[in-house]
C-alpha cells in the first residue's frame, strides 16, 4: 500500500466519522484538527476503524502520529506492510 493509498484510507474513515464535513480540500501537511471539526472521540474512532478494518494497533502514546494525513501515511506505512506480510 502506497502513502497515497493510506491517505485515502484515512480520509475514507474520516468521511464515515464526520459525514457532514467537506473533505474535498483537506491539506495533507496540515493538522486534521486545524482543518476539520474533529474531537478526541473522533480520533479514537479512527484508531478503532484501523483496528477493525485492517487489524492495525495504534498505541496511545503514538496517537500524535495521526495528526495530519502526511504523518498518518508516514506512520502507518510500515504497519500496513507488517499486517499484509
Amino acid at each position: 500500500m502506497t502513502k497515497e493509498d493510506i491517505k485515502k484510507v484515512v480520509l475514507d474513515i474520516i468521511a464515515e466519522i464526520a459525514p457532514d464535513e467537506d473533505l474535498s480540500n483537506v491539506k495533507p501537511s496540515i493538522r486534521l484538527r486545524d482543518q476539520l471539526d474533529l474531537d478526541s472521540m473522533d480520533f479514537l474512532d479512527i484508531v478503532m476503524e484501523l483496528r477493525k478494518k485492517f487489524g492495525i494497533e495504534v498505541p496511545e502514546d503514538e496517537y500524535i502520529n495521526l495528526a495530519s494525513l502526511d504523518s498518518c501515511a508516514d506512520y502507518l506505512i510500515p504497519k500496513f506492510k507488517s499486517v499484509q506480510a
Binding site: M41, L44, K52
Partner: protein, 421 residues
C-alpha cells in the same frame, strides 16, 4: 428569578407553555391529537434480535431536523428523541431562545430505563470479533450514563443549567414534569424542559422480559394488539417516543404574552412497597387522592382521567378498581375516562408525558378522545363514563388527571387545570 414587581401568586404558579412530541402516530401535538380523535393507531411488526417478529410502536420524526449526521452517529435514540421534542417545545412556546439565559434553563427527562439498547448493541458488536473487548466502543460510557438523554439535549441546545434524568419506570413521564415543577417553585431555574422519552423498542431485553412474564401482547393485527380494558387483552406493546414541555412561572409566561396550555395544580408520587411488578390498587387510590388534596379539588371536579392502562390482564383490573373507587360514576357524572396506549402501545418513560399531551387540547376543543380496540369490554374494567370507540364532545373541560404507574411499585398522578387568571 421572579420579578419582584410580579405578584407572589403568579410567581408561584407553574404553567405549561410549549409542547414538543413524537409518538408512533404523530410528530407534533396537532397531528397526534387529530389521530387520537380519529381513532388512528400505529403499531407495526418489527424484527427483534434473538426473538423474531414483535409488535412495536416506532416513531418516524425527522431526525435530521435538529441534528447533523455526525451527531446522530454518536447520539442515542433517547437523546435524539429528547432533542427533537425539546427543540419543538421551545419553538412552540414562542420563547426568544437566542436571548434566553441558558444557565437558568433546567432539563428534567423521565426515563423507564437507559443503557440497555447501547449495551446490547456493543455486546452484539464484540460478538462479531470473538468477544475481543478491544472492539468495545469508547462511545459506550457517554451513551449509557443515566443522564444521557437529558445531557444530549443540553449539548445540542447549549443549555448550561442543571440536567438529569428521572428514573421512575413507567411513571417517569409524570415524574419528569413534577421535577420541573419543583425546580421552578424552588427558584432553581426560570425555564424547565420537562417530560419523558423512550428508546425501549431498541432493546430485545425489554421485549424478552415481558414475554417471559407473560405480558407481551400478541395479535394478528398489530394495531389491535394494545387493547386496554378489552376482555381478550394479552399484554403490552412496547413503544418509543417522547414528550417534552416548556414549564414556566405564570408571571414569566404572562410577561411575554405566552400561550398557556394549562396549569399544574396537583401532583403526587408514592410507592406500593408490596411487589416488584404487580400493581397495588390501594396505593394508586391513595396517590390520586393525595394529588386531588394538593390541588384542593374533589373527584367530581375532574373532567378527564387518563388511565395508565397497559393492556395487561391484571394491571388494568387493579387500576380500574382504583379509578372506580376514587371516581364512582354516580358521584362523578361529569368525569370521563380514557387512555392512549390503545393507539400507540406503551411508550414507557414517555408514556405519562405523551398521554397528557393527548388530552391537553381538550381544554380548547371540548372533546374527549376515546380508548380504542375495546371489542368486548371486560366486566372488571367496566367503569362508568369510559369513552370507548368514538370521541365525546363535552360542554366544558377544565381539569385533567393524568395517571402513570411503574414497576417496583411507583405511582404518579398529575393534575392540570385549564388556565384561568
Amino acid at each position: 428569578m421572579p420579578n419582584a414587581e410580579m405578584s407572589e401568586t403568579d410567581s408561584n404558579r407553574i404553567v405549561i407553555t410549549g409542547v414538543g412530541l413524537t409518538a408512533p402516530n404523530g410528530n407534533s401535538l396537532p397531528e397526534f391529537r387529530e389521530n387520537l380523535l380519529n381513532g388512528v393507531a400505529n403499531v407495526q411488526n418489527t424484527d427483534m434480535r434473538y426473538i423474531g417478529e414483535v409488535h412495536a410502536g416506532i416513531c418516524n420524526y425527522d431526525t435530521r431536523k435538529y441534528q447533523t449526521r455526525r451527531e446522530l452517529r454518536t447520539s442515542t435514540r433517547a437523546g435524539s428523541i429528547g432533542i427533537y421534542c425539546s427543540r419543538e417545545a421551545i419553538t412552540d412556546s414562542g420563547i426568544d431562545w437566542e436571548d434566553t439565559d441558558k444557565s437558568r434553563v433546567g432539563v428534567y427527562v423521565g426515563t423507564t430505563e437507559h443503557g440497555n439498547v447501547e449495551t446490547e448493541n456493543e455486546v452484539h458488536n464484540i460478538s462479531q470479533y470473538e468477544y475481543d473487548v478491544r472492539f468495545w466502543s469508547h462511545h459506550h460510557n457517554p451513551r449509557t450514563v443515566a443522564n444521557n438523554p437529558a445531557g444530549e439535549i443540553t449539548l445540542n441546545m447549549g443549555i448550561k443549567g442543571p440536567h438529569y434524568t428521572i428514573g421512575a419506570a413507567c411513571a417517569a413521564g409524570n415524574a419528569g414534569i413534577i421535577q420541573g415543577y419543583y425546580m421552578l417553585k424552588l427558584g432553581e431555574v426560570d425555564l424547565a424542559l420537562a417530560g419523558g422519552v423512550s428508546e425501549s423498542t431498541g432493546t430485545f431485553g425489554i421485549f424478552a422480559s415481558f414475554k417471559s412474564q407473560g405480558a407481551l401482547a400478541v395479535h394478528e393485527d398489530p394495531n389491535k394488539a394494545s387493547r386496554p380494558f378489552d376482555k381478550d387483552r394479552n399484554g403490552i406493546v412496547v413503544s418509543e417516543g417522547g414528550a417534552i414541555y416548556t414549564l414556566e412561572r405564570l408571571s414569566d409566561a404572562k410577561a411575554r404574552g405566552a400561550k398557556i396550555y394549562g396549569e399544574i395544580v396537583g401532583y403526587h408520587i408514592n410507592s406500593d412497597a408490596t411487589d416488584a411488578v404487580l400493581p397495588n390498587s390501594e396505593r394508586q387510590t391513595e396517590c390520586m387522592r393525595a394529588a386531588l388534596a394538593k390541588a384542593g379539588l374533589e373527584p367530581s371536579d375532574i373532567d378527564i382521567v387518563n388511565t395508565h392502562a397497559t393492556s395487561t390482564p391484571q394491571g388494568d383490573i387493579q387500576e380500574c378498581k382504583a379509578v372506580g373507587d376514587v371516581f364512582p360514576a354516580e358521584s362523578c357524572p361529569n368525569t370521563r375516562i380514557n387512555n392512549t396506549k390503545s393507539f400507540i402501545g406503551h411508550a414507557m418513560g414517555a408514556a405519562g408525558a405523551l398521554e397528557l399531551a393527548g388530552n391537553l387540547p381538550s381544554f380548547e376543543d371540548g372533546m374527549v378522545h376515546p380508548s380504542i380496540n375495546v371489542d368486548n369490554l371486560d366486566p372488571d374494567c367496566a367503569l362508568g363514563n369510559l369513552v370507548i370507540g368514538n370521541p365525546e364532545k363535552r360542554p366544558e373541560i377544565n381539569v385533567i388527571l393524568n395517571n402513570s404507574f411503574g414497576m417496583l411499585g411507583i405511582n404518579s398522578c398529575l393534575i392540570i387545570k385549564k388556565f384561568a387568571d
